[in-house]
Symmetry: C2
């Protein structure tokens, strides 16, 4: 049995300028440009092995040990695009094996619990596109591939890059100019750290795909956000990254998280992703920044109650010092942190009593930092003898 195989990992990214709203639902073309920070794959990544063989009977996916079909419209669009690019290569070079017509077996695993409610579809589609493009030996750039990932899941396009990433919304109807580009590599500003507070929630609110369309169709304030607020903020945030101006970056990140949740609340009926724990985390970060007399931490919330706190390494003892003081009873997350004894000691001042109970709303803490884009790996999740997932 001849089995071609290639593996790739891809990271999670967390937007600091939010993607919310599609102008084309099929092609996942957004109503505004967005910016994100790619997180470190040691802590959060999808590993995907793509394989193909003329003996495979169906396109098939094994995701975290469970079998899935590859028949969703979005996945089919991605596979078609990749096969078309491969076919072009084959047409130009008769020596290449004609694997573009063969079926695919894909095995994919996350190194983080899906239960955490962290957007795993971005890393998932980015790893899928990366592994197959490697399998097909495609010459396309990350930006070109990002257009394919975008069709799978909008924000996945940003996971094709490490560091600081922009998704340029583009103007064309066919989406050919709606792609991810690098704002700055990780090496430009490697001191960016992230702490994710995984907030427990009884029940998910509206899923993001239907949520964003509800906002597009019903929120008055949304029109102002996409036409006036975001275009300016996009330029300012890129500049803050290029200039490594954390205070500006933090202010814009906080404001854009607020703005995004505002237009959710302005939808009809309103959409709520922040819960009382999220709100207390916002107040805690405000308190921290005020106490320090400048912005040393920025919060951002996606379509759920989880908080992501960005801060620079130089302020780790203040930021994690406060977070450890409030959340030290959270069972998962601190065990890997080596410098607990170095954290600054916050006094038991009265202002902090307000936050006494909020650790109960947090189930897990993930300490991570800025990271790299997709990486090829020799790790292989498929048994080459059988073409099936390794045990």
């Amino acid at each position: 049995m001849v089995v071609y195989v290639a593996s790739s990992t891809a990271p999670v990214n967390i937007a600091t300028l939010k993607y919310w709203g599609k102008r084309d639902k099929i092609l996942n073309l957004p109503t505004n440009s967005s910016i994100s920070v790619t997180l470190c794959q040691d802590d959060l990544r999808t590993l995907t092995t793509a394989s193909t063989s003329d003996l495979f009977e169906n396109d098939q996916l094994w995701l975290n040990g469970e079998i899935h079909s590859l028949t969703s419209e979005r996945t089919i669009m991605c596979l078609n695009d990749l096969r078309m690019l491969r076919k072009r290569l084959e047409d130009n070079d008769p020596l290449l094996p004609k694997i573009s017509t063969w079926k695919l077996h894909i095995v994919s695993e996350n190194n983080f619990p899906t239960a955490a409610g962290l957007a795993s579809s971005a890393a998932g589609f980015a790893a899928l596109i990366s592994s197959i493009s490697k399998l097909y030996q495609l010459p396309q750039s990350a930006s070109e591939l990002s257009k394919i990932a975008r069709k799978g899941s909008g924000s996945a396009c940003r996971s094709l890059f490490g560091g600081y990433v922009a998704w340029e919304m583009g103007e064309l109807d066919n989406g050919e100019d709606s792609k991810a580009v690098e704002v700055a590599p990780k090496s430009h500003w490697p001191e960016m750290k992230a702490c994710i507070l995984v907030v427990s929630d009884h029940k998910k609110d509206v899923p993001s795909t239907s949520g964003m369309q509800l906002t597009v169709n019903t929120s008055d304030l949304f029109q102002y956000r996409i036409k006036q607020v975001v275009p300016n903020r996009f330029i300012e945030m890129k500049n803050s990254i290029i200039e490594k101006n954390f205070e500006k970056f933090a202010e814009l990140t906080i404001k854009d998280s607020n703005s995004f949740h505002s237009v959710c609340l302005d939808s009809y009926p309103p959409i709520f992703y922040l819960n009382d724990t999220s709100k207390m985390i916002i107040k805690l970060i405000n308190y921290l920044n005020e106490k320090n007399g400048k912005l040393i931490a920025a919060y951002t919330f996606d379509a759920g109650p989880n908080a992501v706190i960005y801060y620079l390494e130089e302020h780790e003892s203040e930021v994690l010092g406060l977070l450890y003081k409030i959340f030290n009873k959270v069972k998962i997350g601190w065990e890997n942190y080596k410098n607990l004894n170095k954290l600054s000691n916050f006094d038991n001042i009265a202002e902090l009593e307000t936050f006494d109970e909020i650790y109960k709303g947090v189930s897990r803490i993930i300490l991570t930092q800025i990271g790299d884009g997709p990486m090829e790996t020799e790790e292989c999740l498929i048994d080459l003898e059988t073409g099936l997932p390794k045990k």
Copy 2:
């Protein structure tokens, strides 16, 4: 001892198109027009007796049994305006006693607990202005008096009228065209009912005066709200009242509550007035409206977590039926309601299980309806012998 005395009651009003933002902080001139429904004074009112005597040494206020000075800047502005109007009468008619120069003793009582967190300042200033204008026998109309009440507390101007009331923002710098007017009297659409769910909260967020200025100064979306959203909604909501179109009225009321809380959240730092209980009440009203296939209830939230639900008498059994099912364990509020047995029975369907616990976040229920404006009363809170509050 000669003591002149007059008493007046004034109602609470709850805005359906929200006042949020001042263009002039001293004169309480708003950034947008607003609309409210006046609530019934049997359930919520302030009773104020104003008295004056040449023997009184200071302007003095007794509010709910506690003594207060009348030296706040806002109160002084109101008293000055009223004394000036009285002085004009005295100047024109030498037979009138010159009471405009005498000190005032004011006694004021609410028939509802201040602890409930219901905006009592509107009813308070409206009763103050009404009682003194009666004491001074002023000929000014309610709209004219509303400009004085506005200087005391912006939304107080709307409590000078019963029924459906608009506060026209005006354009003049001196505020002479920023006043309350009647949209329609209570008799035009008397079937409007209101249920207030008093939501417990650990701690108040930002007080509304500083909150609205934070929004004015920092929210991008706020500019769009006041320039584009509210002006259209103001016209539409007045029409919905004139046409007695409850579905339209409800949609606009809900959307404006959402919009107001959106611009609070878009402030920097963000302001939160809705808590998790408020959010569940919003979901409950959505559920009720969806189940009925049309809007039969409208929620609105002021600068706090309390919900006010408007509905028409014809839908009382559906609306109160659901509210009683969810909130029957709330200890205060249902005891005065005579028709509990007539409420429609909601089945124990799975959808309602989501709401099983929310009654714990509600401390009191107030069942009321649309009501009249300020009323003169013979009830007197002052002992004419002493010029002090009756025991």
